[in-house]
Amino acid sequence: MKYSALSLLTNAFSGHKKWPLQWPDATPKKSYDVIIVGGGGHGLGAAYYLARKHGITNVAVIEKGWLGGGNTGRNTTIIRSNYLYDESARIYDHAVDLWDGLSQEINYNVMFSKRGVLMLAHSVHDVQSFQRHIHANRLNGVDNNWLSAEEAKAFCPPLNISKDARYPILGAALQQRAGTARHDSVAWGYARAAAALGVDIIQNCAVTGIKRGANGAVEGVETERGFIGAKKIGVSAAGNSSVLMEMAGLRFPLESYPLQALVSEPVKPVMPCVVMSNSVHAYISQSDKGELVIGAGTDQYVSYSQRGALHIIEETLASICEIFPLFKRMRMLRSWGGVVDVTPDRSPILGKTPVPGLFVNCGWGTGGFKATPGAADLLAHTIAKDQPHPINAPYNLERFTGGRLIDEAAAAAVAH
């Protein structure tokens, strides 16, 4: 059914008890044209774009847990595209372009809010680096503007811009087109739209092996519910990408780290935008429920535990309290961790693999949510055409052998 004001009104009369299921829980068929491993926003989106843009509807999305239960549901929902390098500007801005019309396209409110992302500069180095970013962004047609400390304070009143602050604010870069979205809606919206086009969504079904034929090409996946055949497999499994690639006999330049986030008790609207401070590792915005949503840094060691150490979030909260003194007495409600797969250059790997029929979308590190529609669209394109789109062509695996890295790690000087 199409969601509309009328359907809302009609269902209000029946006490909202007659809404149909958003998508059926599919039983796996013997084989599909394409299997997507990983039911997060990236994987579900890829299935949706395969069906809608490329007419490939005999597709299954296989998820070991529940939809959006991995990093899609564990991030701080920040969307922006103010990255330094040309390749990055293109891929992240492609995603922002798609975010723009997404709610209408999939008839599901993903609550994309262009409230602006403010990146704080605390040192002369930050100022110079951000201004370089701003110039590079504007050359690439990505909006990004420099604000003085006073202008930043006017845009975001809770900021402490006093000269004697622990982390003085010398100015800020503002991407006005950036913002946040509702993460669960992204997974559910894509799932519903994909299922409506004929995609099978299979939850609670871990992939335990990837089967390859005599010629090396993929033939399907072994799962907890038996073998499922497919000539093309797209892996979009974030923190577990190394594990899945190993099933196909591939070793990848990835390391998985826990990344934490937390929310406060809900309060009235106080944060008008997203504020990021890379140098002190603090990311903050306010959800529509009123909670402050706070992102911390990664733990230092490889881990698949989906939880991190307390001292990491203590450091983040200490920074938040310095930058926003009025939050000092707020209580934190919940904290959690996700497992992020990080590449040596902090840019993703999105394209073909040395195994025929096996495609990969991984290495988004700490910043995959913002790329969801873009990565999904490009993965679908790569699978359908058996070759990458010009936007994701530079994000190949071979760059680690050839040396053509997209070194956003050096550009941002921190994980991002």
Partner: protein, 94 residues
């Protein structure tokens, strides 16, 4: 926060005294000029990123300031053992 036993100090100390130094037992090639691009990529970038028992290096930065190796389960974060630099790679029991 993890408690880590430094094999030199022979004490369980809090994680903030240590810094993680990546996967262990990756030796720098002795013949850098002879290496192919693939071999350099393997040395520089490819990591096992094991889900399960993982060999890794730690530095007791705010203690004895020495590197040591560890075998840790990356699912539970539990340390199986820590051992001194130069000692043979810890065997993973099946």
């Amino acid at each position: 926060m993890l408690l880590i036993k430094c094999p030199y100090c022979q004490e369980d100390r809090p994680e903030i005294e240590f810094s993680y130094s990546g996967e262990a037992h990756i030796a720098r090639p002795l013949n850098p000029d002879d290496l192919s691009d693939e071999e350099w990529a393997e040395y520089l970038f490819i990591r096992s990123n094991r889900r399960g028992l993982h060999h890794e290096r730690w530095l007791h930065a705010h203690g004895c300031a020495r590197f040591f190796n560890a075998l840790r389960d990356t699912v539970s974060d539990k340390f199986e053992l820590t051992y001194k630099m130069g000692e043979p790679k810890a065997q993973v029991k099946k």
